[in-house]
Symmetry: C2
Subunit: 351 residues, 2 copies
DNA sequence: ATGAAAGCGCTAACAA
DNA sequence: TTGTTAGCGCTTTCAT
């Protein structure tokens, strides 16, 4: 039998043992300055001797410092990818409100860089303690982050990042690997006789394409393992179901030997109607992200695999970690939290 | 832009608004009695009006109540399943020590019911506030839990449970479904021409077999989807590698057409040597649980799939939740936390 | 550069 | 049955 009790010392214990006041211990603890080197050393010594760690409860009780975090992500419609992330932020913000954290959510139009920059302006004016954002417009993000640095405002990336910027924290999966995993799942059961890679037409117009890395992981895997296999790209319009149906039907009419379908963005559910209308025993469909409509498709057996990373949870954890980071005034930079990729099938969907 | 700030009320706000003292609010909040129905109602009304929730920080700061939890699991050797769980408990206990929670870990011999009962006796004598345990000896566990109930000691199950007992919390996967998922993974890529189900010889002797439910899920799935497919059971001795090698070699010599192998316990790594020695292009191996040796086998490509549930994390979360439950004096019973089953392959192993 | 003292929101004796 | 009061361990003015 082993008991874990950790008898815990208080700041008063440290103060007494070091022959100083509690305020002084606090000063060295949080590097608030106004402490002579001599007392500093003395206190530090006692701290390590006693293995003292501050009581976080008492600390946050006593502290009246309030932190403000701005989250900046694309605007969304119901059921879309970003809604899940938004929900994660909201949940996290609510849980952290007792800790004197307030969170503002900013949403910009994904197809309008101007609207992004307006949000940036608003955020800078609100002088937050931290900003959490996702990269959609790389150049604008870079400029924004430089501005933040000038004002000593910390920032963290979620989902994707720009490596040569001084971000504090990053949360997301390894996009390239997620693409490879998707390709593996697609070709694992049966050898492909051609692959349909369905993309969103909008991606063509966009300067930035957040799914590019993932798509590269996907195509690289296929090219390496099935060099003979042709990857057909089909573009569809998310806002035009009829055109989508027509386009996809036409493709498969012309390419009846293709049974492997993948979408490397989060909207595989857009194929729902087509798949339901045209059953195919040999078909295998792989998609990404656990948004509700995708999960419904999986449950119904319309698609076979989803590569996911629990968007909402990731957002929740990311914001919580960032809050923690700010509260504790951590100094480290470029801390990457690579989130685990999960494989979802009908078999492990609801457990 | 949406801001989440939750302006939060204090117990004093409630007291003032209800025209009583803070102590009275506290009394109705935690049903400590000594409050007239009239004031009770008044206070309750204000609480809901203000949507007041106590500040947990302040609460645990002020409270001097210490909780003691006993965890009861099988003794283990390095690298075994239970070690991971133990690690989860230890980590959780350390994190919670500041919250005035102390945890004692009791380990019994899995093959010796007597040793289990000795632990039970010790635990009862130590009068803990809660007990967290895993069911290995159902009858003994039942007797133990009845004793706990008599002493008003709460208990929670992890990994498996006895449904008709008055446990507070349960943490674990749905064993039956995990077996089905394993069977699905095994037969997903290629149709089986016979399946080798490798079991631990000890399981034969044991009165109880914790993996029975999972095995049933596995065999039921196979029987339903591949009624013609023969499931061959091979028993091996975990403590005798030579005998294991010999036995397995002999089996596959006699059954060269069998390429599908599964182990429904956590020790698929026991097949490591055999698999390395006898490569087989067509072979598919499915195992369970994320213990280190299994992960190594997966990484090396010796096995194909692992169905897991992050043992350590599950144990960590379970103990944390149980502590929370005790601290908050929650009254609910039979709360099941079904942990999500994950599919692990070489492709998503280290992310 | 250092210490004294007043809280943070809550709990728990004790008094009434 | 109710209120008063003294902390819990820490932060933060304000003196010194």
């Amino acid at each position: 039998m082993l008991t874990i009790t950790n008898k815990t010392y208080t700041i008063s214990d440290v103060a007494k043992k070091a022959g100083v006041s509690r305020a002084t211990v606090d000063r060295v603890l949080f590097k608030r300055g106004y402490v002579s080197q001599k007392t500093r050393d003395k206190v530090l010594k006692v701290i390590t001797e006693l293995n003292y760690t501050p009581n976080a409860n008492a600390s946050s009780l006593a502290s009246k410092r309030a932190f403000h975090i701005a989250c900046l992500i694309p605007r969304f419609r119901q059921g879309e990818y970003w809604e899940e992330m938004n929900n994660g932020f909201v949940a996290s913000a609510k849980d952290y409100s007792s800790r004197s954290i307030s969170v503002s959510l900013y949403h910009f139009d994904q197809s309008d860089e101007e609207s992004f920059m307006n949000c940036c302006k608003d955020i800078l004016e609100s002088k937050p303690d931290g900003v959490m954002l996702s990269v959609v417009f790389p150049e604008a993000v870079t400029r924004f982050c430089k501005d933040l640095e000038k004002q000593h405002i910390r920032y963290a990336f979620i989902d994707n990042k720009i490596d040569n910027l001084d971000y504090c924290l990053y949360f997301g999966i390894d996009s390239y690997k997620s693409g490879q995993l998707g390709a593996w799942l697609l070709t694992n059961r049966t050898e492909p006789t051609g692959i349909a890679l369905v993309r969103i037409r909008r991606d063509q117009r966009h300067k930035s394409d957040p799914n590019r890395t993932r798509r590269h992981g996907f195509t690289d895997y296929i090219e390496e393992h099935f060099p003979e296999c042709n990857i057909h790209t089909i573009f569809i319009d998310p806002d035009n179901p009829d055109e989508t149906m027509g386009g996809v039907e036409e493709f498969f009419r012309e390419n009846p030997s293709v049974h492997h379908i993948a979408m490397t963005n989060s909207r595989v559910f857009l194929l729902e109607d087509y798949i339901r209308k045209h059953p195919d025993e040999k078909r295998i469909v792989v998609g990404f992200d656990d948004i509700k409509k995708n999960l419904d498709c999986l449950r119904e057996g319309l698609i076979d695999y989803l590569v996911i990373r629990h968007i909402k949870k990731q957002a929740y954890d990311a914001l919580a970690a960032f809050a923690e980071y700010l509260i504790k005034d951590t100094q480290s930079k470029h801390t990457n939290h690579f989130v685990h990729m999960e494989i979802l099938t009908q078999m492990n969907l609801d457990n």
